[in-house]
């Protein structure tokens, strides 16, 4: 029975000197790469007789929509006839080997100029990939570091998922740069050899260090495990956000809700009115979610009719987002980002001054309170009280006024504060 062994490669395929000497050393201890030995970033070996092989990398044909890529059959036949066995494909490269003691087998590449020209193509491809990563990073960077990036993450996929995405982009950037630099260094050496330029002692030292794949093996292996965990965590965080949104337990019917809410609803705006819910499918419910530094995050979409004793009635709606974070600074930052976002809305109509009555009630309750009222897409009230934030939109303005909304909300916040 064949014994198999799986290893995390201690180098990346474009670190050509290191990769070649790693495979040679593995064969020397009786671990020979299996056919197509790289799968999901892991290397598969089978145990056999200890043999010394020299491994060489050649450029593989890239896969396209109409072609699986790899190595052309004619090339394989020519190489096999010369004594070079194709072991498999690793990244951009086809890996060949031949017995180290067979002196009659020529090197796989004997013309540095042509060899360098082939590597230039791979370097160009690597550079193309890097440019795409940079474009993605710039677009992502605008989202990550834009003026309302934090708010966008809180309201969207969640902070964890956004943070992990940023780490992944940075990691991809690092790998892209390393890929291009490694290939560039290799090409430069080949071109120098092709021109017959002497190799400097420092270059010889560089190659010797690269061949010593042991020196960076642990870094590479830890990086592999870290990137594997990172991708897993990113997928999980996205999936968790999806599950949280889809979980019916996180959506409560508003008319049937008996728990007290830390904010006012339409029926709380006027004492002498009666309220009846409308029957719109997507409204009149409480949605709740959590994030790692937002322990309470509620969203209410209410729609209904307010009837006054004089017989008049008004239909309208109210959406309230209540966010309680772990720090006052974080909440203040979210308020700033809400304001920034709305100020840049084309419907933004400017701030309204708060009435003296509201200013009095704010100073009466004391504490660290900010209140803003303005019209953006809808009439809006934004309140921060310590770590708590309320973002309120209401429509059907005829039934209400900013002052009534602010008064009711401050009162509800004061009640839950106590």
């Amino acid at each position: 029975m064949k014994m198999h062994r799986i290893q995390i490669p201690p180098c990346r395929p474009y670190e050509i000197n290191a990769a070649q000497s790693w495979l040679s050393d593995m064969s020397a201890v009786g671990l020979h790469p299996e056919q197509d030995f790289i799968f999901a970033g892991l290397a598969f070996f089978e145990r056999g007789e200890r043999r010394r092989y020299r491994y060489r990398f050649d450029i593989a044909k890239p896969a396209t929509m109409f072609d699986d890529g790899g190595v052309e059959e004619e090339k394989q036949l020519i190489c096999a006839a010369a004594g070079w066995e194709l072991v498999g494909i690793w990244g951009d490269f086809a890996v060949y080997r031949s017995p180290e003691d067979a002196a009659d087998i020529p090197e796989l590449h004997t013309d540095p100029a042509l060899h360098a020209a082939a590597y230039k193509k791979v370097r160009r491809r690597a550079l193309g990939s890097l440019i795409w990563i940079v474009i993605l990073a710039v677009v992502w960077g605008r989202m990550m570091f834009g003026a309302d990036a934090l708010l966008d993450a809180v309201l969207g996929v969640g902070l964890g998922s956004r943070f992990l995405s940023a780490v992944m982009i940075l990691w991809a950037l690092y790998l892209g740069v390393e890929h291009v630099v490694s290939l560039h260094t290799f090409c430069r050496r080949l071109l120098r050899a092709a021109r017959g330029e002497p190799v400097s002692l420092s270059e010889l030292e560089e190659v010797r260090t690269e061949r010593n794949w042991h020196s960076r093996a642990w870094h590479r292996r830890i990086a592999f495990i870290a990137s594997f965990l990172l991708i897993g965590a990113w997928l999980l965080s996205g999936f968790a956000a999806f599950l949280q949104a889809a979980d019916e337990k996180n959506t409560v019917d508003l008319p049937g809700n008996e728990d007290s809410l830390p904010f006012a609803l339409m029926q709380d705006l006027y004492d002498d009115s009666t309220f009846s819910y409308s029957s719109m499918d997507w409204t009149n419910e409480i949605r709740q979610r959590k994030d790692f530094c937002i322990p309470v995050h509620l969203q209410v979409l209410q729609n209904g009719t307010i009837a006054y004793p004089d017989g008049t009635s008004y239909s309208g709606g109210l959406t309230v987002r209540y966010i309680e974070t772990v720090s006052e600074k974080f909440t203040a930052l979210l308020v700033r980002q809400y304001r920034y976002s709305d100020e840049h809305d084309k419907h933004f109509g400017g701030y309204r001054a708060l009435s003296p009555e509201i200013l009095d009630s704010m100073s009466a309750v004391g504490g660290d309170i900010e209140v803003y009222t303005y019209t953006a897409r809808f009439p809006t009230v934004l309140i921060r009280w310590g770590k708590r934030l309320l973002y309120i939109n209401y429509y059907g303005e005829a039934y209400s006024s900013p002052d009534a909304v602010v008064r009711a909300m401050l009162s509800a916040l004061a009640d839950t504060q106590s």
């Binding site: 060489r56 050649d58 052309e72 059959e73 004619e74 090339k75 036949l77 020519i78 190489c79 006839a81 010369a82 070079w84 060949y96 020529p106 090197e107 796989l108 590449h109 004997t110 013309d111 100029a113 042509l114 060899h115 020209a117 082939a118 092709a194």
Partner: protein, 127 residues
């Protein structure tokens, strides 16, 4: 007519053309063997290099693929074209001129004025 110029040929390229010169159509493996014979064991061409050269020559129109009903798998049969033969002869002429220049330098005492300027020792200067 060559589809794209290859500029100065490298040694490997020249030997591939040379090995195919005045020969019937050959497989890649036969080209490699013939280079070993022509080079008297001092010139060898790696299989990956050979395949790269064949690809470049095919694109440049220096060689052409010949139908081979007996071919096994995707081993192709190649023949030198007139453009390839001309390129081989051009390179041969260039190398001959190089050799002639080298012979002229090695076989004469001619020194150049700027060399004298750098050599203040009169004993070393050209008479």
């Amino acid at each position: 007519m060559p589809k794209k110029s290859l500029g100065t040929l490298t040694e490997s390229m020249f030997y591939v053309l040379l090995s195919m010169h005045r020969m019937p159509a050959m497989y890649g493996t036969e080209i490699a063997s013939r280079i070993a014979v022509i080079g008297g064991g001092t010139v060898e061409i790696g299989p990956a290099t050979l395949y790269t050269v064949l690809g470049k020559f095919r694109d440049a129109g220096y060689i052409e693929e010949v139908d081979d009903p007996s071919a096994v798998g995707r081993m192709r049969l190649y023949r030198l074209t007139d453009a390839g033969a001309a390129a081989c002869e051009r390179e041969y002429d260039r190398l001959r001129r190089c050799i002639a220049d080298a012979e002229a330098v090695f076989s004469s005492d001619v020194r150049y004025a700027d060399e004298d300027a750098q050599n203040p020792d009169p004993a070393l200067q050209t008479v």
